[in-house]
C-alpha cells in the first residue's frame, strides 16, 4: 500500500496560496513521487477553491466547510481536522510555514503525538525515509533531519518560496469528499475581528522581489520611494530591525533573525548597513542588491551588486528605469 500524504490547503482572498502547490511538491519529493496526495480545504464559500484545487495532482479533496471556519481559529480548526485525520489516517501532513501553518501544525502534531519538522526548505527521499533540510539560527546554519522512532505520522511545515510549485495539470478528476463539521458548543477561543492589512499586497515570505529599508530611510515617509519601486516590480516592502525599532514601520515588515526569514529571487537593501542578525534573514536570497551611502557598509560584502549613493536619489532612478524597461 503506498503512503498517503495529506496537504492542508491554504487560501487568501479567495485564491489558493502559492505555498499549497509548493507543499504538494515537497510531499511528492519526500516519497520520490510514490505517495498518494490528498488535500484538505477548510473555510466557507469554497466552491471556486475546490475547482482551483482540482487541477492539481491530488487524488482527493476533503472539504470542511462552515461559516465558523471562515477565519482561522486554532481551536475550531483543530476540532474540524482532528476527526478527519483519524478517518483519513495519513502517513504525513504537510502545511505551509505561514501564520496559519506555524500555529496549526504543532496543534496537530501534539494531538497525533507526532514529530514535526518546521520551516523545511528542501526534501530528498532515501528509501522509506525522507531527509528534510531546515535552517537553524535563521539560516546561519542548516540541519538535515529525519523522522525517528515511531510510526506516528509526520508533520511538516514548508517554507514558502523554496519548492517549485506543483503544476496544475488540469485533469480535474480529484474526488471531492465533504466531511461533516459541527462547531463545538464550548469553544473557548472566539475570533472577533480580522483586519486584512495585507489584502491585495504581495506577502513578504512569498514575494519574488523585496525592497527593504533600514535606518537610512530616516522616517515612515522615507518608505514611500521603496513602496513605489516595490509596486512597479510587483514585490513587497521589508525592513531591518533598525527601521522597525526607530518606529519607521510595522514590526510585521521586519526581516532578520528576529522577524521574518525571506528568500526572494531579488532582494534590494536600501539604507541597510547589514548587521549579522539582518543578514541571517535575507542572505539566502538569490540576487542581493545593496544601496548605501557608506561604501564600507557590511551589506556590500554579501551583495551581488552594489550602488554607493543616497537611497533617496538611487531608488527613484531605479523605479524610473524599471518602469521604462518593463513597459
Amino acid at each position: 500500500m503506498s503512503k498517503l500524504y495529506l496537504i492542508v490547503a491554504e487560501h487568501r482572498d479567495g485564491k489558493l496560496r502559492q505555498v499549497t502547490p509548493e507543499a504538494m511538491q515537497a510531499a511528492s519529493l519526500a516519497s520520490s513521487g510514490g505517495a498518494r496526495l490528498e488535500a484538505v480545504l477548510l473555510g466557507s464559500g469554497l466552491d471556486a477553491l475546490i475547482e482551483e484545487l482540482k487541477a492539481y495532482p491530488v487524488e482527493k479533496i476533503h472539504v470542511l466547510e462552515d461559516d465558523s471556519l471562515e477565519a482561522y481559529n486554532p481551536e475550531a480548526y483543530a476540532a474540524a481536522l482532528v476527526p478527519l485525520l483519524s478517518t483519513v489516517n495519513p502517513d504525513a501532513v504537510f502545511l505551509g510555514h505561514t501564520a496559519m501553518g506555524r500555529d496549526l501544525a504543532p496543534v496537530l502534531a501534539a494531538r497525533l503525538e507526532a514529530g514535526q519538522l518546521s520551516d523545511v526548505i528542501a526534501v530528498e527521499a532515501s528509501g522509506d525515509q525522507a531527509v528534510f533540510t531546515r535552517p537553524l539560527y535563521a539560516g546561519k546554519a542548516f540541519e538535515k533531519k529525519t523522522f525517528a522512532g515511531t510510526d506516528t505520522p509526520w508533520v511538516v511545515t514548508v517554507r514558502p518560496n523554496n519548492f517549485p510549485a506543483a503544476v496544475p495539470a488540469g485533469g480535474g478528476d480529484a474526488q471531492v469528499e465533504r466531511a461533516t463539521y459541527t462547531p463545538p458548543a464550548n469553544l473557548r477561543t472566539v475570533v472577533r475581528d480580522v483586519v486584512r492589512k495585507t489584502s491585495g499586497k504581495v506577502d513578504l515570505t512569498e514575494a519574488k522581489i523585496i525592497v527593504s529599508g533600514g535606518r537610512g530611510v530616516k522616517s515612515a515617509d522615507g518608505f514611500r520611494p521603496l513602496e513605489e519601486l516595490a509596486g512597479v516590480l510587483n514585490g513587497a516592502v521589508g525592513a531591518s530591525r533598525g527601521a522597525c525599532d526607530a518606529g519607521y514601520c510595522d514590526y510585521a515588515l521586519q526581516i532578520g533573525q528576529t522577524g521574518k526569514v525571506v528568500t526572494p529571487e531579488i532582494y534590494i537593501a536600501c539604507g541597510i548597513s547589514g548587521a549579522i542578525q539582518h543578514l541571517a534573514g535575507m542572505s539566502q536570497s538569490r540576487i542581493i542588491i545593496a544601496i548605501n551611502k557608506d561604501p564600507e557598509a557590511p551589506i556590500f560584502k554579501v551583495a551581488d551588486y552594489g550602488i554607493v549613493g543616497d537611497l533617496f536619489e538611487v531608488v527613484p532612478l531605479l523605479t524610473q528605469e524599471f518602469r521604462k524597461a518593463l513597459a
Partner: protein
Amino acid sequence: MNVYVVLKQTFDTEEKVVLQDGRVSEEGVKFVINPYDEYAVEEAIRIKEAAGGTVTVVSVGPERTAEALRTALAMGADEAVLIADDRIPADEYALSRVLAAFFADQAYDVVLGGNFSVDNGAGQVAVRLAELLGIPHVSSVTKLELSGGEAAVQRDAEGDLETLAVRLPALFTAQQGLNEPRYPSLPGIMKAKKKPFRQLTLDDLSVTPEQIAARTARAELFLPAPRQAGRVLEGELPAQAAQLVQLLRTQSNVL
C-alpha cells in the same frame, strides 16, 4: 493571577555560528533570554503588577540556562524552575512532554512563551504544551488584556491583525511589539539572588526517557556556503541605475 513563562536561553542574535566537531560551538558566545521569550517575561511581570499574583519562569535546558532564569528573576519574576537532564532529547515532542509533566500539578491562569526561538526556530514547544494541557492558545500576540477570566488578544498574522477573545487559563506566545522589555535594575539583581530557584530532573517529574523518545533525528549539520562580495557599480548614478536594471533583466527570470 498565576502567570508562568516558558523560556529558552539562546545565542545573542549578533553572534556568528561556528561549527566544531560537528556541533555548534558555544565558545565565547554571549547567551541571552530568547528575544521573543523576553517579551513574554516582561508581559508576565506587567500582568502581576496590574493584577497581583506570582510569576514563575520555567526552562528546559542545560545548566547554563540558570543565567537566563536569573535575569528573568532580576527583571521581576518571583520564582524560577530549571529542568536540566541530559536524557531529554532536543526534540519538540519530548520537550513539550517534559514541560507538560511539570505543569500537571501547577495552578496557572496564564502561560506565556515566545513566538519562536531564534536558534532552532521551530515554534512548536509552546503551542504543543497548550494542547497537552488542554488549554486554548493564541500565538504571535501583540496585545494582551485580561479581565474577568478572559483575555482580549491581538495577534499578528503575517501583517494581518486578528482580534480574539479567549477564556482563561490559556497560553500566549509573544510577538515583537507586545511590549518593551525592561532591563534588570541593580536592586532587582540583588533581590534575584534570594528568590526561589528549583532545579529538577526527569525523576522529579516522574517521566521516563522512554516516554519522551525523540520523534525526529538530526542527520547532518552544516554552514551555508559563504556569499561572495559582488560588484560595486561605477559611474554617474543614473547610468548605474540603468546598468543595474539591465543586469537584473538578463540574470533573473522574474522580471
